[in-house]
């Protein structure tokens, strides 16, 4: 299983909102700081689709990541289970 720990601050909301729309993702509040995005299969996100500036995109998983980054370039990130 993949778990992405998202800090609950405005700049990361686009990813949390995007995950909420996906059937393969479960979004859970963990505490007052973190929201977890869980998935049982690989997940891929697009910077352009999320509307994120590069400086935020490149720090997207700063909250923590239980998973492996298979691809992370200027527009696409793909996370797989460890």
């Amino acid at each position: 299983m993949i778990t992405i720990y998202m800090v609950d601050v405005p700049e990361f909301q686009p990813l949390i909102d995007d995950a909420r729309q996906r059937p393969e993702c479960r979004v859970k509040r963990l505490d007052s700081t973190y929201i977890a995005i869980e998935a049982d299969e690989p997940v891929e996100f697009s910077r352009r689709a999320l509307g994120l500036k590069p400086a935020i995109w490149y720090g997207l998983f700063t909250g923590g990541l239980d998973g492996d980054i298979e691809r992370f370039d200027r527009d696409v990130v793909r996370i797989v289970s460890r």
Binding site: P10, E11, I56, G63
Partner: protein, 204 residues
């Protein structure tokens, strides 16, 4: 233990070998008032005993200060940065910077226009997590940042910062016996997840 609290910046100082260019840039172009100047004889070391030390107002009682060491030679390492693009290409020299705060995006863009009108290259607006910045170089080659705060730093930022830096410190310690222990940011992010899981398990 006495709890130390800083109250902001008094002054940030750098050396310059371009007195006129520096005054024209900070006072005349940027519009920062020259608020103080010290001139000293025989106070410096043998190679540059006499100097000017002068200060431009940077708000809230703080200032941007320069030393002009009379008769000393400008280091080639500094000269190399003059006129180069406003990007952090040198991760030691350019990382050593101060970011100056303005009130609004209008202020940031007015400064951009003024600099560009004088032929100074300015970076694109750069949106970070909690600030938005422009970057440019002064005549000395120093990498300058001017920023607006997009949102205040909150308790949530401090909580997450503590976990990030704890993960980094653990990995740095492990690298002393295993060179592969700390090679990428992925390892910090994975360690943070592990720390969270341990803390959550302990709380059950």
């Amino acid at each position: 233990m006495h709890c130390l609290t800083f109250k902001g910046v008094d002054h940030a100082a750098r050396p310059t070998w371009k007195l006129r260019d520096t005054v024209r840039f900070y006072r005349d172009l940027m519009g920062l008032s020259l608020v103080h100047a010290i001139s000293a004889r025989g106070w410096g070391t043998d190679t540059h005993p006499d100097f000017l030390h002068f200060f431009f107002d940077s708000g809230n009682g703080s200032s941007i200060a320069f030393f002009y060491y009379i008769g000393s030679k400008e280091p080639a390492a500094l000269k190399a940065h003059q006129g180069t693009r406003p990007a952090p290409d040198d991760h030691v020299f350019d990382a050593t910077h101060v970011s100056w705060l303005v009130d609004s995006r209008d202020d940031l863009h007015a400064l951009r226009r003024r600099l560009e009108a004088h032929g100074i290259e300015v970076s694109p607006d750069t949106r970070h997590e909690t600030i938005e910045s422009i970057y440019f170089r002064d005549p000395n080659g120093y990498f300058l940042e001017v920023t607006i705060r997009a949102r205040p730093l909150l308790e949530i930022d401090a909580i997450d910062a503590a976990r990030t830096i704890e993960a980094g410190m653990q990995l740095e310690a492990e690298r002393e016996t295993d060179a592969d222990a700390f090679r990428s940011i992925d390892q910090v992010w994975q360690r943070k997840a592990a720390l969270y899981q341990v803390a959550a398990g302990a709380a059950l």
